[in-house]
């Protein structure tokens, strides 16, 4: 379990760092990709400026910080993936043919595979939130007053 958790943390954290760095490359293009979803009319540029940094911070925290902070990073990633999944599903089911924008300039149209990938990321981040916790302390009974 320990090694599986480490592997998932490295993959998930690395993926978020990569996604954040690629989005940082061209914030104007990323803002356009956000507005293409037709979900919000204002604040797309602010989102384009802030979201990549949040992704990088949470991805790095998931890899390098102590356990308590890693769980927080995993929870933050879980929330972001939930938000991404709502947006991507909305575009897919409304039939809006746009680039996902998930990895910056890498053009990737939204397909059912995008939804499956997001579902996988949801499961991995949930796994990290639930299982990346301190091992329970072994039970140590206090000395019995009745023991001779």
């Amino acid at each position: 379990m320990k090694w599986l958790l480490l592997l998932l943390r490295l993959v998930l954290g690395g993926l978020f760092i990569l996604a954040g760095v690629l989005k940082l490359h061209d914030p104007s293009k990323f803002a356009l990709e956000i507005s293409n979803y037709q979900l919000i009319s204002t604040g797309t540029t602010a989102m384009a400026a802030l979201l990549p940094a949040i992704e990088i911070v949470s991805g790095a925290a998931l890899i390098v910080l102590p356990q308590a902070w890693r769980r927080a990073a995993a929870l933050l990633i879980l929330l972001m993936v939930m938000m991404f999944s709502v947006a991507v599903s909305s575009a897919y089911f409304r039939g809006i043919n746009i680039d996902c924008g998930c990895f910056g300039g890498a053009a990737s149209p939204i397909t059912w595979l995008t939804l499956v990938r997001n579902a996988g990321l949801l499961l991995v981040s949930l796994f990290c939130v639930v299982f990346d916790r301190p091992a329970p302390r072994p039970f140590t009974a206090s000395p019995s007053p009745f023991r001779a």
């Binding site: 911070v57 902070w69 929870l75």
Partner: protein, 179 residues
């Protein structure tokens, strides 16, 4: 639990602060006040206007494998008759558009959209320009629509569009030749 939420909020704030600082420092940082991105304005109004082709100009493109002639009318109208070699762009099926357009446009340099009228085709062509990721794609409409094409006496045909034929809901089936 409270500690977890507090740490999550702190990490989010740290990301926000980093994003603000980075955006402020970099020369190509964006304005945060929520206006539409500059690229969006360019994309819809300046970067790639929809061309208007007369039937004769459109006819000159027919047969070119890099050119896609797309019918934006209803499946019933398409079945009754269409420009020879055209495919039916399934505008009435949003799921089909999402999945089908990238495949239809792959390897094409030009797409000519026609409808019953010029305006009908323009609405679809504008959508193609906005949503297509291939920014080098030339998008044009047939002025006067299918009636102008027929009036000019250029080739009309019927028969199942390969893309539509796979979907019985979009494409009802082959019709007889129509000239």
């Amino acid at each position: 639990m409270f500690g977890l939420i507090a740490r999550t909020g702190f990490l989010a704030l740290l990301g926000v602060a980093a994003g603000l600082i980075l955006n402020g420092v970099r020369p190509d940082g964006v304005a945060l006040n929520g206006g539409p991105p500059a690229a969006a304005c360019q994309l819809t109004t300046v970067a790639q206007p929809v061309e208007r082709l007369t039937p004769a100009q459109a006819n000159a493109l027919c047969g070119n494998p890099n050119v896609l002639i797309a019918d934006a009318r209803s499946p019933e109208s398409f079945a009754e008759g269409h420009v020879a070699g055209a495919v039916h762009l399934p505008c009435a099926a949003p799921g089909g558009v999402a999945q089908g357009i990238p495949g239809l446009l792959a390897g094409r340099s030009t797409v000519v959209v026609y409808g019953e009228t010029t305006d009908e085709a323009l609405a679809v062509a504008d959508g193609l320009v906005r949503r297509n990721s291939n920014k080098g794609l030339r998008v044009a409409v047939l002025v006067g629509g299918f009636p102008a094409w027929q009036l000019a006496g250029f080739a009309c045909a019927s028969g199942p569009c390969p893309e539509c034929a796979e979907d019985a809901l979009i494409w009802p089936g082959p019709a007889g030749d129509h000239k």
